[in-house]
C-alpha cells in the first residue's frame, strides 16, 4: 500500500514519517514511533484507553487516521511528566490508589488532564459525567474520582 509523508510533533519531538493511510494514530504512536504507553482496549473508540491530547483536545487515537494528524501537536502519557516531576494528576492517581491493573490509566490521566486544563472547578458529579468516555474495569471509579478531585484541588 502506498505510503504518505506525515509530520507529527509528539511530546515536543518532531517525527517525519512515511505511513500507510490505513494506519491509525494509535498504531503510528505505538508501532512506528514506539510509544507504547498509549493502550489499545477496543479499537472502536468506546473505552478511552487510547486517549491522547491532540492540539489541546482529548482524542481517542484509535479513531483518528495517522495521516490526518499531520502537522498537529500530540501529547501522550510519556510526555506528561516534566523534568522528572510527575503531573499533579499522575501524583493524585498514586496517592489515592486511582489505578489497579493500570491498563486504562494512561487514558484516564490524559482525559483528566484536559478536563482540568479546561476547568478545574467542576463538581464531582460533573467530573463523573465528563469521564464517561473512559472505561475502568478494576476500580469501580471511586478512587479515580478521588484522584481527579485531589488533582483539581492541587491545580486550583
Amino acid at each position: 500500500m502506498a505510503k504518505h509523508s506525515v509530520s507529527l510533533t509528539v511530546n515536543g519531538d518532531e517525527h517525519d514519517l512515511l505511513i500507510e493511510p490505513r494506519k491509525t494514530l494509535l498504531a503510528v504512536l505505538r508501532d512506528t514511533i514506539g510509544l507504547t504507553g498509549t493502550k489499545e482496549g477496543c479499537s472502536t473508540g468506546d473505552c478511552g484507553a487510547c486517549t491522547v491530547i491532540v492540539d489541546g483536545k482529548a482524542v481517542t487515537s484509535c479513531m483518528v487516521l495517522g495521516v490526518t494528524a499531520s502537522g498537529k501537536e500530540i501529547t501522550t502519557i510519556e510526555g506528561l511528566a516534566s523534568d522528572g516531576e510527575l503531573h499533579p494528576v499522575q501524583q493524585a492517581f498514586i496517592n489515592t490508589g486511582g489505578y489497579q491493573c493500570g491498563f486504562c490509566t494512561p487514558g484516564f490521566i490524559m482525559a483528566s488532564k484536559v478536563l482540568l486544563d479546561e476547568n478545574p472547578n467542576r463538581s464531582e458529579e460533573e467530573f463523573r459525567h465528563a469521564l464517561g468516555g473512559n472505561i475502568c474495569r478494576c476500580t469501580g471509579y471511586t478512587k479515580i474520582l478521588e484522584a481527579i478531585l485531589q488533582a483539581a484541588e492541587e491545580i486550583r
Partner: protein
C-alpha cells in the same frame, strides 16, 4: 494505634510510577526485532460441518509468512477445529504476516466451506430431547432423562409461585421422552444434607422460583495477547499476559509435547484478569506454532470483538430454587436444581451451586447441578466463579421469605447466620468468621435501621461468602550492603499483591517500606508460583514472604551474634538495626553493616528463602446495601447509595483492599443491571462496548467501603483473600432494592428498564 509499622498502612503501590507514566510493559508492548503479527482465522458459523479450508489466495498476499491449521500441530492435540465448529469465532487457522493489517486481510482471504447445522443457545432448550446435539455420542454417559424430569417436577409443585413458562414447557416435553439419556449434559454435581422433604413439610412458608443469570464477560481492559519466539535450537520464549505463567508453561508443554525446560514464560504486566486469563489455547499456542513455522517472533493479539466471541466468559445459568422456613424465621430447608451454560466444552463452575446455602444454618439441603453444552465458546472463572449466580438466587429468595413472614431482611439474616462451631450444611464445622459483624457493619454504615424512603425508592441488602484458595509459592529475600532489601519471586502482581508482599517483608525486617524492592522472575529463573487467581496471592505469597523474611531474620541475628560476640538471645532486630538488649550504653549494628560483613563470612550473604504450599483458609463475607430510586414510567433504576462491607481478616494495605471492594461491587452491580452476552442463531450478537455496556463513572455513585477485620488463623497477619468476595452479593442486593422500591421482583438478570416496566404492568401499574 496498630502494633505494626508497615503492614496495615495505606502505602503507595510498588508499581505506582510505572503505571502512571506509561512505562509499565503489558503484553502488546513487547516488540522483539523482526516480529511478525499473527491473526486467528475464525468460524463465521455457530454450528457447522467444515467441508473445506482453502488457504491458496491468502498465501499469495505479499507479506504473508505462514498459515497454519490443525495439520501443523505435531502433537495432534486440538488447537484448531477440523471437521466441525461448535461456536461463532472458533479458531480454524492462523496467519503470520509482516504487518497486522496484512494478517487481517489474509485471514479474510481464507475460504471456508460450511455445512450449516441447527444451533442451540439456550440451556433450557439444549436439554430438550429435540435439541441439536453438539458432541454426538461423546457425552452419552450423562444422567437419565427420567432423573432430571423427576427433579424438575418435584420442584415445580408450587406453580402459582413460579412464573417460568420455560420450566413447564420443558416438563411437558420431558414427559414424552422418559427413558432417553441426555446428550448435551457435560457434567453433574450433587450434594445433600438432612432431609429436605421433611424440612419443607415442617415449614410454614415455602417459596420457590426460577432465576436466570446471563453469561457475562470479565472484560479485563487488556485483550488477550502473547508474543512467542522459537529459536533454532527449539527453545521457546513466550511473553504472556497471564495470571499464571507456570500454568502457561505446562500448558504449552502438554499441548505441543515440548519439555518444560525448553519453554520460558515471561509474565508481562497484566491489564486485568478477574479469572479469565489462565487459558493457554486462546493466543499462546497459536503464537508459538506460528513462531516455530516462521523462525521469527510472532505476536497474537485479540481484538475486543474476538474477546467477546472467543474469550472464556462466566457461565450463565438457570437455577430453580425452593426454600422453606418457619413463621418465626428459621430456615428449615433449601433445594436447588441448576443448569449451567458451559458452552461448547465442559468446565462451567457447576459445583458453586452449593453457594445457595449461604452462611446460614439450613439443616436440610439438596443440590443438583448440571453443565449443559450450547453453541458458545467455553467458559472460565470470573471473580468467585459461580458464586454470584448461586448467591443471587439464594439471597433474592431469602428476601421473599422475610417479606412473607414480616421480618426485617437484615434481622432475618442475622438470626439464621452460622456461628463458630455450627455445622456447615454438607460441609465441616464453621470456623470463626465475622458474618454478623460484617452485616451489622454495613447496616450501621448505610443507615439501615432508620432508613428513609420516598416514593419509588427502596433499600436492598444481601450477603455473599467466598473462601480464598491457596497454592505453592517461593520467595527469596536478599539484604544488601546499603541496608536495602530485594525480593525475588515468580507470582504475577494482581492489583497490589507485590505491594502486600513488600509490606510484609519490610515489617519483619523492620526496614522502611521504601528500602524494599521486588522483582518478578520468569519461569526460567523464579521459583514455582501458583497462578494469581482465587484470591490466593496475599494469602499464599504473604505466608511465603513471611517465611522468607523470617529466614533472613535468623541469618541476620546469627551474623550479629558473630560480629558482636554476643549470644543471639541478647539480640533484637528493630528499626533496621540489631540491638543488644539492655546494653548500657546502647550497642547496635545496622543491617547494611551486617550485609557487608556477611560477604566475608563462612555462612555468606543474607538470603532468606520461603517456600509454602498449603494451610486451611477461612471463609470471608461481603455484605452490601443499596438504596435505589426506580422510575416507574421508564423502568430506569438509579443508585442513590451503595455501601459494601467485607470481613478481610486483616487489611495489609487498606487502600488496596478498599479498591478491591469498590471494584468488585461495581462489577456485581453491572451483572445485576447492565451486562449480558446475547446470542442468536448466528452466535454472539453484541461483541463490543456499544452493545455490551459496562459501567462508566457516570453510571453510579461512589461506593462506600467498610473494612471488617476478624483475623484468619492461617493468614499472614490474619489476612484473607479479598479479591473475589465483593462481587458475590451485589446481584441480589440490587434485585432486592428494586423490589423494595416498586414492588416487582426481577428474577431474570440483568434488570433492564424494559423488564421493570413489563413487571410493573403485570402488577397493574399504568393500566
Amino acid at each position: 494505634m496498630s502494633e505494626y509499622t508497615v503492614v496495615g498502612q495505606k502505602v503507595a503501590r510498588v508499581d505506582a510510577v510505572e503505571k502512571v507514566t506509561g512505562a509499565a510493559q503489558y503484553g502488546a508492548d513487547v516488540h522483539p526485532p523482526g516480529m511478525l503479527y499473527g491473526k486467528i482465522v475464525r468460524s463465521k458459523q455457530a454450528h457447522a460441518n467444515i467441508l473445506s479450508i482453502d488457504t491458496s489466495e491468502a498465501e499469495k498476499l505479499p507479506g504473508v509468512r505462514a498459515i497454519i491449521t490443525q495439520d501443523d500441530v505435531p502433537s495432534g492435540r486440538r488447537v484448531f477445529a477440523t471437521d466441525k465448529v461448535l461456536y461463532l469465532g472458533e479458531p480454524l487457522a492462523a496467519v503470520a504476516a509482516s504487518d497486522p493489517d496484512i494478517a487481517e486481510e489474509a485471514a479474510e482471504l481464507i475460504k471456508i466451506e460450511y455445512e450449516v447445522l441447527p444451533v442451540v443457545q439456550d440451556v433450557m432448550e439444549a436439554i430438550k430431547p429435540s435439541a441439536p446435539r453438539l458432541h454426538g455420542d461423546d457425552t452419552k454417559d450423562g444422567p437419565n432423562r427420567r432423573e432430571i424430569s423427576t427433579q424438575i417436577r418435584k420442584l415445580s409443585r408450587d406453580k402459582e409461585n413460579d412464573h417460568s413458562n420455560e420450566i413447564s414447557k420443558l416438563e411437558a416435553e420431558l414427559e414424552d421422552y422418559p427413558d432417553e439419556v441426555y446428550y448435551n449434559i457435560s457434567a453433574e454435581s450433587h450434594s445433600d444434607a438432612g432431609d429436605v422433604e421433611k424440612g419443607f413439610a415442617e415449614s410454614d412458608v415455602v417459596v420457590e422460583d426460577t432465576y436466570v443469570i446471563p453469561r457475562v464477560h470479565q472484560t479485563y481492559m487488556e485483550p488477550h495477547v502473547s508474543v512467542a519466539s522459537a529459536d533454532s535450537s527449539g527453545k521457546i520464549t513466550v511473553w504472556a499476559s497471564t495470571q499464571g505463567p507456570f500454568a502457561i508453561r505446562s500448558g504449552i508443554a502438554g499441548t505441543l509435547g515440548i519439555p518444560l525446560t525448553q519453554i520460558n514464560v515471561i509474565g508481562t504486566t497484566m491489564g486485568g484478569g478477574f479469572g479469565g486469563r489462565f487459558g493457554v489455547i486462546i493466543t499462546h499456542i497459536p503464537a508459538v506454532l506460528l513462531s516455530q513455522k516462521t523462525g521469527r517472533p510472532v505476536r497474537v493479539q485479540m481484538t475486543r470483538e474476538e474477546e467477546f466471541t472467543d474469550g472464556r466468559p462466566a457461565p450463565g445459568c438457570v437455577i430453580k430454587l425452593k426454600t422453606g422456613a418457619t413463621k418465626d424465621g428459621h430456615i428449615l430447608a433449601r433445594e436447588a436444581l441448576a443448569f449451567w451454560d458451559s458452552g461448547s466444552v465442559s468446565g462451567a463452575s457447576i459445583g458453586s451451586t452449593i453457594r445457595v446455602r449461604g452462611v446460614y444454618k439450613i439443616p436440610n439441603l439438596k443440590i443438583s447441578a448440571y453443565g449443559v453444552h450450547t453453541n458458545k465458546s467455553g467458559t472460565a472463572a470470573y471473580r468467585a466463579p459461580g458464586a454470584p449466580q448461586a448467591i443471587f438466587a439464594g439471597e433474592s429468595q431469602l428476601d421473599e421469605i422475610a417479606e412473607r413472614i414480616g421480618m426485617d431482611p437484615v434481622k432475618f439474616r442475622l438470626m439464621n447466620m452460622r456461628e463458630e462451631g455450627d455445622a456447615i450444611p454438607a460441609g465441616a464445622a464453621e470456623p470463626k468468621v465475622g458474618y454478623k459483624e460484617t452485616l451489622e457493619a454495613v447496616a450501621d454504615a448505610a443507615g439501615w435501621w432508620d432508613r428513609e424512603v420516598n416514593e419509588n425508592q427502596g433499600w436492598g441488602v444481601a450477603v455473599g461468602d467466598w473462601t480464598n484458595g491457596c497454592g505453592p509459592g517461593g520467595v527469596y529475600v536478599s539484604v544488601h550492603e546499603d541496608g536495602s532489601v530485594r525480593i525475588f519471586h515468580g507470582s504475577m502482581d494482581i492489583t497490589g499483591t507485590d505491594t502486600a508482599i513488600s509490606q510484609i517483608i519490610a515489617e519483619i525486617l523492620t526496614v522502611p517500606y521504601e528500602s524494599v524492592t521486588i522483582r518478578r522472575g520468569d519461569t526460567d529463573s523464579a521459583p514455582y508460583s501458583t497462578g494469581s487467581g482465587g484470591s490466593v496471592v496475599t494469602f499464599t505469597m504473604g505466608n511465603t514472604a513471611k517465611l522468607a523474611a523470617e529466614d533472613a531474620h535468623r541469618r541476620i541475628l546469627e551474623l550479629a551474634s558473630e560480629r558482636l560476640n554476643m549470644n543471639v538471645d541478647n539480640l533484637e532486630l528493630r528499626d533496621g538495626e540489631v540491638h543488644v538488649i539492655s546494653a548500657d550504653p546502647p550497642k547496635s549494628i545496622s543491617l547494611g553493616e551486617l550485609a557487608a560483613y556477611s560477604l566475608s563470612t563462612t555462612g555468606g550473604p543474607i538470603v532468606g528463602k520461603g517456600s509454602f504450599a498449603r494451610q486451611p483458609s477461612t471463609p470471608a463475607l461481603a455484605a452490601q446495601i443499596a438504596k435505589v430510586e426506580v422510575d416507574p414510567d421508564t423502568g430506569r433504576t438509579r443508585v442513590l447509595k451503595l455501601v459494601a462491607s467485607q470481613d478481610v481478616g486483616f487489611a495489609i494495605n487498606p487502600m488496596a483492599v478498599e479498591g478491591q471492594i469498590e471494584g468488585g461491587t461495581v462489577q456485581g452491580y453491572a451483572w445485576a443491571m447492565m451486562e449480558e452476552m446475547q446470542y442468536g442463531e448466528e452466535g454472539n450478537i453484541n461483541p463490543g462496548f456499544v452493545d455490551y455496556r459496562v459501567p462508566t463513572s457516570a453510571d453510579l455513585p461512589t461506593v462506600e467501603s467498610v473494612i471488617v477485620e476478624v483475623p484468619a488463623p492461617n493468614g499472614p497477619y490474619g489476612a484473607k483473600g479479598v479479591g473475589e468476595p465483593p462481587i458475590t452479593p451485589t446481584l441480589a442486593t440490587m434485585a432486592n432494592a428494586v423490589k423494595d422500591a416498586v414492588g416487582v421482583r426481577i428474577n431474570e438478570l440483568p434488570i433492564k428498564p424494559e423488564k421493570v416496566v413489563d413487571a410493573l404492568k403485570n402488577n397493574g401499574h399504568g393500566a
